[in-house]
């Protein structure tokens, strides 16, 4: 799975916009959207919000969690805890990137938010690598990781699976005689 595909999925998330045009309900396969009244907030998927934003048809209201104070809390908690803490949105990274890239003028303190989310991301990825490392070094058969987002899983999937395969091959070559016993371990 590609990162862009994950981003595509994230675009289904809803976000509040304030349109500056008026339009009746629109009926789409994914559900009905609208009606759009100028100056009245309305929830739309991110893809539509960005499209409208790029055409200067709306203002985007940042999600509630996209706030410096809240993100600081999350970041501190994430640094404090050894395990993964729940994230504000399953697509926090993708949404931050999308919204800040296209609608940074509607989001107060966009730069700080970008830094904070990046901090959270880095912390989490570091944890993920660490746990992957201990997983392999301790020759564990299974591990459970809570609160991972799709994007995070996606970043490590290819590498982890390939390396596990590789190691398996190496190990089975090392001990050709007792390969069956090895199987049991894994």
């Amino acid at each position: 799975m590609d990162a862009s595909e994950v981003e595509f999925l994230a675009e289904k998330e809803t976000v509040t916009i304030i349109p500056n045009f008026s339009l009746d309900k629109i009926y789409l396969i994914g559900g009905d959207l609208g009606p759009f009244n100028p100056s009245l907030p309305v929830d739309v998927p991110v893809w539509l919000a960005l499209n409208l934003k790029q055409r200067q048809k709306c203002r985007i209201v940042p999600p509630a969690w996209m706030d410096v104070e809240k993100l600081e809390e999350i970041r501190d908690l994430e640094r404090k805890e050894d395990t993964f803490t729940p994230v504000p949105s399953p697509y926090y990274m993708e949404l931050t990137k999308l919204l800040l890239n296209y609608a940074s003028d509607n989001i107060p303190k966009a730069d700080e938010i970008r830094t904070l989310v990046k901090d959270i991301w880095d912390t989490r990825i570091a944890k993920l690598r660490l746990s992957a490392d201990s997983f392999i070094s301790q020759l564990e058969a299974h591990a459970k990781l809570d609160n991972l987002t799709l994007m995070e899983i996606n970043t490590i999937r290819t590498f982890l699976l390939d390396s596990l395969n590789c190691m398996y091959k190496l190990r089975s070559n090392l001990q050709p005689g007792s390969s069956k016993g090895q199987f049991k371990d894994f």
């Binding site: 304030i18 500056n20 045009f21 100028p38 100056s39 009245l40 907030p41 200067q56 203002r59 107060p108």
Partner: protein, 1123 residues
């Protein structure tokens, strides 16, 4: 040492403030949290000069025309005084400085900072700095030794340190204070002070005492304390002569000691009890200026420190025991009372006690919700202060008369009241634009309405107006420079309207940016006459209304033509417009005890100009004022008061005002408010901006609109019954605008209207069912009264199914009454329309040529037909099989297959005479005893009665009863005659004028005879339809034929038609039948008796069919949904 406590002045925004006098004593200089230094020429200076030194100013010092300030950009700056020119930066810290002070000669400045350092800087050469390190927490205060050798400083680490400046070393350190981590958390500011002149003592405020340390030996020689001083001392200040020491405490007490005698010579209390954080003596020693943490400036005048020491001390000594005595008495009273008592004894020319109380009361009246001083200032007029000022004057005189220097101990308990003790008039609220924030703000909304936003930026550099449209399709955003100083604005789809108050040279101006104009000149401007100020304005559709200070209302066209002028009955409060309506709210009379007495006028322009509401009082919540006025998007006036109650005009109840929402109920905290920006009736939306802790939103960050639901404050809305009642009332109220709009000639959304009616009827039915469950049959009947005819039939069915026979019976009466009523109404309504609808020939043609109207009705007819069939089938299944059997033989008689369903026996028995009648006219109609909807249901209810009830009532009762109360104008026998005459009178009088027809119709008494009623049960047959269609051609072919001959001829022709054609006519006839239509027929019977022209009659029938089917089909749709 009696002194006068002058009233407080508002100086800065809330937060830390400091005060000092200039060396001449001419100016009082203050600094505050707003970053300004204000230079007051005495306390009464209404327009103090100000110098902005930064975002916040923490401390200031003034000497030798140099003003040194510590500001939030971590610098200590110099400004010239009194010009306020920046004169460079003295020093910098890594964080803000907390206190700055000059030495006695003015050559050096000491500054303490939150970064734990104290710096001593030469004013002439800022590079010569001495840094004193050693404190372990932010420095609270610094003070120079008058002889310039030492410097004392206090810090949050709890220590008070004396430094040797030259050596930059600590000389001595006392751990006297409580430790804190920041200046903002420190309980006391611990401002130290050296005795000027002799420089003998260093005064250090320690909790509630002042410690005096001797210079040199650094011994703690004595403490100054006072029994009444129970709160921490914040600041100390020596009088210029060095004899007196003034202190200000956290609780607002101001105390002055004579240092030699260590006696307290003056006690005063801050009038509101706020923390005193700045204290300064006048150079002459006669005045003491103080500031508090709320940004107010106060002054004690008449301190006689210059008089000889002995007398003062004597006086003080004499007074001291007396006060102690007072204290004994007043022990149980609160501080405030004691204080006031004391100040009374001290100063006869003092505000009486009653004054303070009244002040507070006033506050309560005006701001019941918040009581915030700032908000009050925002809302109330200048007139307010004028008012109270004049009142005070009177009272002061009063105080002069009665107050004496020696007041007995009981004096504080005898408040000096003004002579008049009745209700006090409320200051009238100021004129405002709904949807604007107060004018004193530098960034504010001038208007926020459903069209867009007008913002005003009034900075030092820039004075501009931004206009932004919610819908960018209306117009692009505009940016205007506000050179004229506009303060009020309105915005519509057509134009932006701005107005400015008059100045000394310029008249008040009205400026209109008519951006929707098609010519190139998009702007016009009008000057108001001399002495006339624009107070309120609004934009209607194609016109502009302006209310002025001279109680004048001026009406302009949108292009700038002056159209109308009239006088208003009172000072305008605000004004709004919608389409052709203008709503004005004005002061009707002075209000009393916090109430506003407002009146309202609603005018309508356009074709016929009229006044819909003329000067009725506007109901407001108790002790509140108007905060928003507007129209809903649909054009119903509504307003919001300061208690957050939204009220809407109820046009259907004689223009009364109904509360529809209380925005405060949804607020989380008491100080939160909703700022209303718009109201929509369909969908029901209250659009507003949530404001946390204020009444108004700030312009930045851009506030987001929230939507609140409406809720009528009915009783017991927690119960199901209450909820449904509330929903019903609300639905009715919020759909009043349909009737208003249609009556004033606007197009209305018929779908929405029918939807709302359906919703209401559904609610009624639910409420009916609930009342049934609760065994409240009387209530059921009341509810049924509100239902439309077809829903009543449902109700009847419900009642009969739940075995409430008495109820069903009463309901059937109601149903009949309703049917008659509808008919009457329609008769009345029909007449004016009649000539329009009239078509040269019968139904078919009118159907073709009737255009939109008839085609729509056609659809509805079809719908109606389907639904009726559904209905019928359902009825059938409901009824017992036996009924069916009985019906069947009858159905054989009937020609039409549709009819089979609903002809129960009872009816057959009872309807016999009519059957005869029907069969007596076999040629003209097939005489099917087609039952109307009501009667269907009535019979069904009667049907179920024998099924459920113990004793079946044979052929009597329910059916008869509703008929009985009807006025029996015609008997059955006359009916026969009638039909006879009708047949014979159907002579073709083609030339009859429609007008004549109308007259005749008008003469027709409301036909309501039971006979007619039953006769109506005969539905139209296919043949009749065909004949109506073709009558004209027949008469054209055979002019001069008698009516009977025509029918014969027609019969002949009809028979020649093919079977399919005949069938189609029969089908159509089926679709045509319906109760309402039957009622028409009944009318036709009457009309026929009056020699009605046959053709006209046919037209009329078709027209009525159209009308009558309209509601019934809707409701049968409802019935269908219900089941």
């Amino acid at each position: 040492m009696p002194c006068e406590r002058k009233p407080m002045r508002y100086g800065h925004s809330e937060g830390h403030t400091e005060v000092c006098f200039d060396e001449s004593g001419k100016f009082i200089v203050t600094c505050g949290n707003d970053g300004d230094v204000r230079i007051w020429e005495g306390l009464d200076d209404d327009d103090p000069k100000f110098i902005t030194v930064g975002e916040k100013a923490y401390s200031l010092a003034l000497k030798k025309n140099k003003l040194v300030t510590a500001s939030s950009n971590n610098t200590v700056q110099i400004h010239t005084f009194p010009d306020g020119e920046p004169d460079g930066i003295l020093t910098r810290f890594t964080t803000n400085a907390t206190h700055v002070t000059f030495n006695s000669s003015g050559s050096r400045v000491a500054a303490g900072s939150s970064d734990f350092m104290v710096k001593v800087v030469e004013v002439s050469d800022s590079s010569q700095q001495k840094t004193l390190r050693g404190h372990e927490a932010p420095v609270l205060s610094v003070s120079f030794d008058p002889k310039d050798d030492f410097l004392a400083s206090a810090s949050c680490d709890g220590s008070v340190v004396v430094w040797n400046i030259e050596e930059q070393s600590q000389l001595i350190s006392w751990p006297l204070l409580q430790k804190t981590n920041d200046v903002s958390n420190a309980k006391s500011l611990c401002r130290l002070a050296w005795q000027p002149g002799a420089a003998k003592f260093l005064a250090v405020p320690v909790e509630t005492k002042v410690h005096l340390y001797v210079r040199g030996s650094w011994d703690h020689v004595s403490s100054l304390s006072d029994d009444l001083l129970t709160q921490l001392i914040n600041v100390v200040a020596w009088s210029p002569c060095g004899q007196y020491l003034a202190v200000g405490s956290v609780g607002g007490s101001l105390t002055v000691w004579d240092v030699n005698s260590k006696l307290c010579v003056e006690r005063q209390k801050h009038e509101k009890g706020f923390t005193v954080c700045g204290l300064a003596w006048h150079p002459s020693g006669s005045q003491l200026a103080y500031t508090d943490t709320e940004g107010c400036l106060g002054l004690l005048d008449g301190l006689r420190t210059s008089t000889s020491t002995t007398t003062t001390t004597k006086q003080a000594a004499v007074k001291k025991p007396a006060r102690d005595y007072d204290d004994l008495f007043d022990d149980d009273d609160d501080d405030r009372l004691i204080d006031e008592g004391l100040s009374d004894t001290n100063s006869p020319v003092k505000k009486p006690v009653g004054r303070d109380d009244d002040d507070d009361d006033d506050d309560d009246f005006l701001m019941p919700a918040t009581g915030r001083a700032r908000n009050r200032g925002a809302i109330l007029d200048d007139e307010h202060s004028l008012d109270t000022g004049s009142l005070k004057l009177g009272r002061d005189k009063f105080g002069d008369d009665t107050g004496s220097v020696v007041v007995p101990a009981a004096a504080p308990l005898q408040p000096l009241r003004p002579v008049y003790e009745g209700p006090m008039p409320t200051p009238p609220q100021k004129a405002f634009q709904p949807g604007s924030t107060p004018a004193h703000l530098t960034h504010r909304f001038m208007m926020w309405n459903s069209v867009g936003i007008v913002r005003d930026y009034n900075d030092e550099q820039d004075n501009a107006i931004d206009v932004e449209f919610h819908d960018t399709a209306v117009h692009h955003a505009m940016h205007l420079t506000n050179s004229l100083g506009h303060t009020i604005a309105d915005l519509s789809q057509e134009a932006v309207l701005l107005a400015c108050p008059s100045t000394d040279e310029l008249a008040s101006k009205l400026q209109c940016l008519h951006f929707s104009s098609w010519d190139t000149n998009k702007e016009w401007m009008v000057d108001m006459p001399q002495g006339e100020d624009v107070r309120a304005l609004c934009l209607g559709q194609g016109w502009v209304a302006v209310a002025t200070s001279t109680l004048m209302l001026r009406l302009f066209s949108i292009g700038g033509v002056q159209r109308e002028i009239f006088s208003l009955p009172g000072n305008v409060v605000c004004m709004v417009a919608h389409g052709e309506q203008l709503l004005i709210v004005y002061h009707r009379a002075p209000g009393f005890d916090g109430e506003q007495a407002l009146g309202v006028q609603l005018l309508q322009f356009g074709q016929r100009k009229r006044q819909l509401i003329n000067g009725e009082p506007l109901p407001l919540s108790l002790k509140s004022y108007l905060s928003w006025l507007g129209f809903t998007a649909e054009g119903t006036p509504c307003y919001v008061d300061s208690d957050g109650v939204v009220r809407m005009l109820n046009r259907s109840l004689g223009n009364t005002w109904t509360p529809v929402c209380n925005t405060r109920e949804t607020c989380k905290s008491k100080s939160d408010h909703y700022w209303v920006v718009g109201i929509h009736e369909n969908p029901q939306q209250l659009r507003c901006i949530p404001c946390k802790g204020s009444r108004y939103p700030p312009t930045l960050p851009r506030p987001a609109v929230a939507i609140l639901p409406f809720k009528l404050p009915l009783c017991q809305t927690s119960t199901e019954k209450g909820q449904m009642e509330e929903q019903f009332c609300r639905s009715v109220l919020f759909h009043n605008h349909f009737s208003f709009l249609s009556s004033s000639g606007y197009e209305i959304d018929e779908d929405a209207q029918s939807h709302s009616q359906k919703e209401q009827q559904e609610l009624l039915m639910k409420m009916f069912a609930l009342s049934c469950k609760l065994e409240r049959e009387f209530r059921c009947v009341e509810l049924a009264d509100l239902m439309t005819q077809n829903v009543v039939t449902l109700a009847i069915r419900y009642a009969s199914r739940s075995r409430r026979l008495a109820l069903a019976q009463r309901l059937s009466e109601i149903a009949l009454e309703k049917a008659n009523q509808i008919q009457k109404e329609e008769e009345e309504e029909e007449e004016p329309e009649y000539s329009n609808v009239r078509q040269p020939s019968g139904y078919g043609q009118s159907e073709v040529t009737g255009g939109r109207h008839s085609s729509r009705l056609n659809q509805e007819e079809e719908q109606g037909k389907e639904l009726r069939e559904e209905d019928g089938q359902e009825m059938e299944t409901e009824e017992a099989a036996e009924t069916r059997k009985r019906v069947n033989p009858f159905a054989k008689e009937a020609v039409s297959p549709v009819m089979q369903t609903l002809t129960p026996i009872g009816k057959v028995g009872r309807a016999n005479p009519f059957k005869v009648l029907g069969s007596g006219k076999p040629s003209s109609s097939s005489g099917q005893p087609r039952v109307t909807n009501i009667l269907d249901n009535m019979t069904s209810s009667r049907k179920s009665a024998p099924l459920g009830g113990p004793a079946g009532k044979p052929n009597k009762g329910p059916v008869l009863k509703p008929l009985a109360p009807r006025p029996k104008t015609k008997t059955q026998s006359t009916l026969l005659q009638l039909t006879g005459t009708k047949a014979s009178s159907k002579k073709t009088q083609e030339n009859t004028q429609p007008a004549a027809d109308q007259q005749k119709q008008a003469e027709v008494p409301p036909p309501a005879s039971p006979a007619d009623n039953t006769e109506n049960k005969r539905p139209k047959t296919g043949f009749q339809f065909w004949m109506e269609e073709n009558r004209k051609s027949i008469t054209a072919d055979h002019p001069g034929l008698e009516e009977t001959d025509i029918i014969k001829e027609a019969m002949g022709r009809f028979r020649t038609l093919s079977a399919e054609e005949r069938l189609s006519w029969t089908e159509r006839a089926k679709g045509q039948t319906g109760d309402a239509e039957d009622l028409k027929k009944r009318k036709r019977a009457g009309g026929g008796a009056e020699n009605e022209n046959g053709q006209a009659e046919a037209d009329e029938n078709s027209a009525k069919k159209k009308k009558s089917l309209d509601p019934s089909s809707k409701l049968s749709a409802f019935a269908f949904n219900k089941n």
